[in-house]
C-alpha cells in the first residue's frame, strides 16, 4: 500500500489543540437581479481530526453555502466571498491559487452530496468514477484504478463489488449509490469529509445503515467530519458538537447532548419541540410560526425575532452577539454559545 508515504507528506503533525479546519468570520453573498442576498454572515466554526461537527438548519440558512465555500465549488458568480478566512491545517484556503485548492479537493477534503443519483455521472460506470480519483491524483493505470475501485466498493460493503464495478449509477439502489458516493469521498483517505445531507434522499432504514457506515469509517481513518443536515434525528447518534444556523449566522453551538437537553436559543428550542414524539400521539405537532426570512431583506436585529415568542424591543433593533453560555451559578459551560439576548431566560427559565 502507498498509504504510508501519502500520509507522510500530508501529515505534518498539527500542534495539539489546533483544529483541522477553522472557518473564521466568513461572509458570502449572492448577486441576484433583485439585490444582494447575504447567504452567510460571519460564520465561525472548527473541526478537529476525528471529530464530528453537525451543522443544523433549515433550507436557506447558509449551511450548504458555507460547505461549498470550504470546498471551493461555489458558483462564482453569482456567489462571492466578501470576507473571512478558511484555515485548513492553519493555511488560509481563500488565499490559495486555483491549482493549490484543486489539489486539496478530493485528496485532503472530500464531499458527499445529498442526491447520489444526480451527483454521479449517469453515463460513466461507477468503477470509472471511483477509479478516476486514483488516476488523476496518483497517476494510477486503468487496471490499478479499477482494482482499487473494487477494493473501495468492498469497503463500503457493496455486495459482489467485482461484478458490479462496470455497472452504471442507475443500476444501483439509492442506498448503494450513496455508499458509492461515500467510497468516492474516502478514496484518497482525506483528512476531512463534508457530508451535505447525506441521508435525506434515502429511506429511513437505509438512512441508519449509511449513517452508521459513515461514522464507522470516520472513526477508523480518524477523519474530521462536517455533517450538514436539517434532520435532528440523524445528528444525535453521530455528532460530537452541533452548530445551529439561521439566516446565514450561527445561533447556537453546543456539545450534542447538552443541546438536546437544554437549548439556549429559542430557535433551537422550537426545532426540538417540532420533532414528532410517540408519547404525544393525538396532539397537534408543534411548528415554529412564520417562515424563514427572505435573504434579500433579513429582519433588523435578531433575524429570528418575527418568529420568536419571547422577542423584546432589543431583539428587533440589535443583532445579538454569540454569547458564552453559563450555568445558573455563572460558571461557563465549555463549547456552549448562544446568539440570543435572552439566552439566560431561554436556558434557565
Amino acid at each position: 500500500m502507498t498509504t504510508v508515504t501519502e500520509k507522510a507528506d500530508s501529515g505534518e503533525r498539527l500542534a495539539p489543540g489546533t483544529p483541522l479546519l477553522e472557518v473564521r468570520d466568513l461572509h458570502v453573498e449572492f448577486v441576484t437581479r433583485d439585490g444582494i442576498a447575504k447567504a452567510v454572515n460571519g460564520v465561525n466554526y472548527s473541526v478537529a481530526a476525528g471529530e464530528t461537527l453537525a451543522v443544523l438548519g433549515e433550507s436557506g440558512s447558509g449551511k450548504s453555502v458555507t460547505a461549498q465555500t470550504i470546498m471551493g465549488i461555489l458558483d462564482m458568480p453569482p456567489g462571492r466571498v466578501t470576507s473571512g478566512e478558511i484555515l485548513f491545517r492553519g493555511q488560509d484556503m481563500l488565499k490559495m491559487s486555483n491549482e493549490e485548492r484543486r489539489k486539496i479537493r478530493g485528496r485532503k477534503i472530500a464531499m458527499i452530496f445529498q442526491d447520489a443519483l444526480s451527483s454521479l455521472n449517469p453515463v460513466l460506470s461507477v468503477g470509472y468514477q471511483l477509479g478516476e480519483m486514483f488516476r488523476v491524483h496518483q497517476g494510477a493505470s486503468r487496471k490499478e484504478a479499477k482494482a482499487k475501485a473494487i477494493e473501495l466498493m468492498d469497503r463500503v460493503r457493496i455486495p459482489a463489488a467485482a461484478q458490479r464495478v462496470n455497472d452504471y449509477p442507475h443500476q444501483f439502489s439509492g442506498g448503494m449509490r450513496q455508499r458509492i458516493m461515500i467510497a468516492m469521498a474516502l478514496a484518497l483517505e482525506p483528512d476531512l469529509i463534508i457530508a451535505d445531507e447525506p441521508t435525506t434522499a434515502l429511506d429511513v432504514t437505509v438512512q441508519a445503515q449509511v449513517m452508521d457506515l459513515l461514522a464507522e469509517l470516520q472513526a477508523e481513518y480518524n477523519m474530521g467530519l462536517i455533517l450538514i443536515t436539517h434532520d435532528l434525528g440523524v445528528v444525535a447518534d453521530v455528532a460530537d458538537k452541533i452548530a445551529v444556523m439561521y439566516a446565514g449566522r450561527i445561533v447556537e453551538t453546543a456539545p450534542v447532548h447538552e443541546l438536546y437537553a437544554s437549548p439556549a436559543h429559542p430557535y433551537t428550542k422550537g426545532l426540538l419541540r417540532s420533532i414528532p414524539r410517540l408519547d404525544q400521539k393525538g396532539q397537534d405537532l408543534y411548528a415554529i410560526k412564520g417562515l424563514p426570512p427572505n435573504l434579500l431583506k433579513v429582519p433588523a436585529g435578531c433575524a429570528f425575532n418575527p418568529r420568536c415568542d419571547i422577542a423584546t424591543d432589543l431583539c428587533r433593533t440589535e443583532i445579538p452577539a454569540l454569547h458564552q453560555v453559563a450555568d445558573k451559578d455563572g460558571a461557563e459551560l465549555a463549547g456552549r454559545r448562544s446568539a440570543c439576548h435572552l439566552w439566560k431566560e431561554t436556558l434557565h427559565g
Partner: protein, 307 residues
C-alpha cells in the same frame, strides 16, 4: 440488442418500398419522358414507340415499378436514355460526393462542437454573443448566396483557393465547397451544443467532478462534454444523410460532378432511371445513418435499453 437490430432492419423494408414507389410516381408525374427527350422537336411516332417499349413505358405504373425493383435486386439500375448504365454513373458520382461530405462533416464536427462548447462555457459573455449572432446570420442566409459570395471572394478575388473543382477531386479543392456545404449544419450544431452545455454545466455530477479535484480540462471533456454530446450526435447522424443529398446546390456552384450534379441533370432531362437510382441509394444511406445513430445512442447513454 441483436433482436432490436433485426426488428429495425425489418422496419426498413416498408419504408424503403414506400419511399422508392413515391419517387417513382413523382418522376412519372413530371410528364412524358420521351417527349422531354426530344425537346422541342416532335418525335417520330415509330421511334417514340420503340423507346416506350424498351423502357416499359407502356405498362401500368405499378408493373413498371415491379419490373424496376426486380432488376434493382440484381444490382441493375437500368440505363439512361442515352444508353449509359446508371450503375456506372453512380460509381462516378458517389465517391466524389462522399469525399465532399467527409470534408464538410469534419468541418461541421470540429467547429460546430468547438464553438458550441466555447459559447456554452462563456454564457452571456462576448464570445457567447458573437457565436450566437454569427450562427444566426449563417442560418438565415441561403446556401447559394454563401456559396457564390465565398467562391467570388476566396476563389476569384483573393485567389486563396481554387474557385471550382471540376474533375480533379482533391482535398485542397474541396475545402471551400466543404465549408459552404457545412456552414448551415455547423451553425445548428454549435447552437445545439451550446444549449446542452449550458444545461449540463450546473448539473450535480459536474459539481461532483469539481469536488473530486479533477483538472478543469477533465471535468469539461470527460464529464460535461460526454453528457452534452448525446443529442448532438443524434443530429450529426441524421445530418450525414442530409449533407449527401443536400450537396446539390454546392455541387452546382463549384462544378463538382457528384450526386447532386447527376440528380439535377436527371430531373431536368426527366431521366427517370437516373433519378430513381440515385434517390434509392440516398434513401438507403439515410436509413443506415438513422439506424447507426440509434445504436450509437445506447453506447453513449447506458440508461437507454433496447427492447
Amino acid at each position: 440488442m441483436g433482436r432490436y437490430v433485426i426488428r429495425r432492419l425489418l422496419q426498413m423494408i416498408p419504408v424503403f418500398i414506400g419511399t422508392t414507389f413515391l419517387i417513382f410516381v413523382m418522376v412519372h408525374a413530371l410528364g412524358d419522358p420521351v417527349n422531354a427527350l426530344f425537346g422541342d422537336r416532335a418525335p417520330d411516332p415509330a421511334v417514340a414507340e420503340k423507346i416506350r417499349e424498351q423502357y416499359n413505358l407502356n405498362d401500368p405504373l405499378w408493373l413498371q415499378y415491379l419490373k424496376y425493383m426486380g432488376k434493382l435486386f440484381r444490382w441493375d439500375f437500368g440505363t439512361t436514355f442515352s444508353g449509359q448504365s446508371v450503375t456506372s454513373l453512380l460509381a462516378t458520382a458517389f465517391p466524389t460526393t462522399l469525399k465532399l461530405t467527409a470534408v464538410a462533416f469534419t468541418i461541421e464536427v470540429i467547429f460546430g462542437i468547438g464553438l458550441g462548447l466555447l459559447s456554452g462555457l462563456r454564457r452571456g459573455r462576448v464570445a457567447d454573443n458573437s457565436v450566437l449572432i454569427l450562427t444566426l446570420v449563417v442560418i438565415s442566409i441561403p446556401t447559394f448566396v454563401t456559396g457564390y459570395v465565398l467562391q467570388y471572394l476566396v476563389g476569384v478575388k483573393w485567389g486563396a483557393a481554387p474557385a471550382t473543382v471540376g474533375d480533379q477531386v482533391t482535398l485542397d479543392r474541396l475545402i471551400l465547397p466543404g465549408v459552404v456545404l457545412a456552414s448551415v449544419s455547423l451553425a445548428y450544431v454549435a447552437r445545439l451544443t451550446r444549449t446542452t452545455v449550458v444545461e449540463n454545466v450546473r448539473a450535480d455530477y459536474v459539481r461532483t467532478a469539481v469536488a473530486k479535484g479533477l483538472p478543469r480540462r477533465r471535468v469539461v471533456v470527460n464529464h460535461l462534454l460526454r453528457n452534452s454530446l448525446i443529442p448532438v450526435v443524434t443530429f450529426l447522424g441524421t445530418d450525414l444523410g442530409a449533407l449527401m443529398g443536400g450537396a446539390l446546390v454546392t455541387e452546382r456552384i463549384f462544378n463538382i460532378h457528384g450526386v447532386g450534379y447527376y440528380l439535377y441533370q436527371g430531373i431536368v432531362r426527366q431521366n427517370s432511371n437516373t433519378v430513381v437510382g440515385f434517390v434509392t441509394i440516398l434513401v438507403i444511406i439515410y436509413l443506415a445513418a438513422n439506424l447507426l445513430v440509434d445504436l450509437l445512442y445506447a453506447v453513449l447513454d447506458p440508461r437507454i435499453r433496447y427492447a
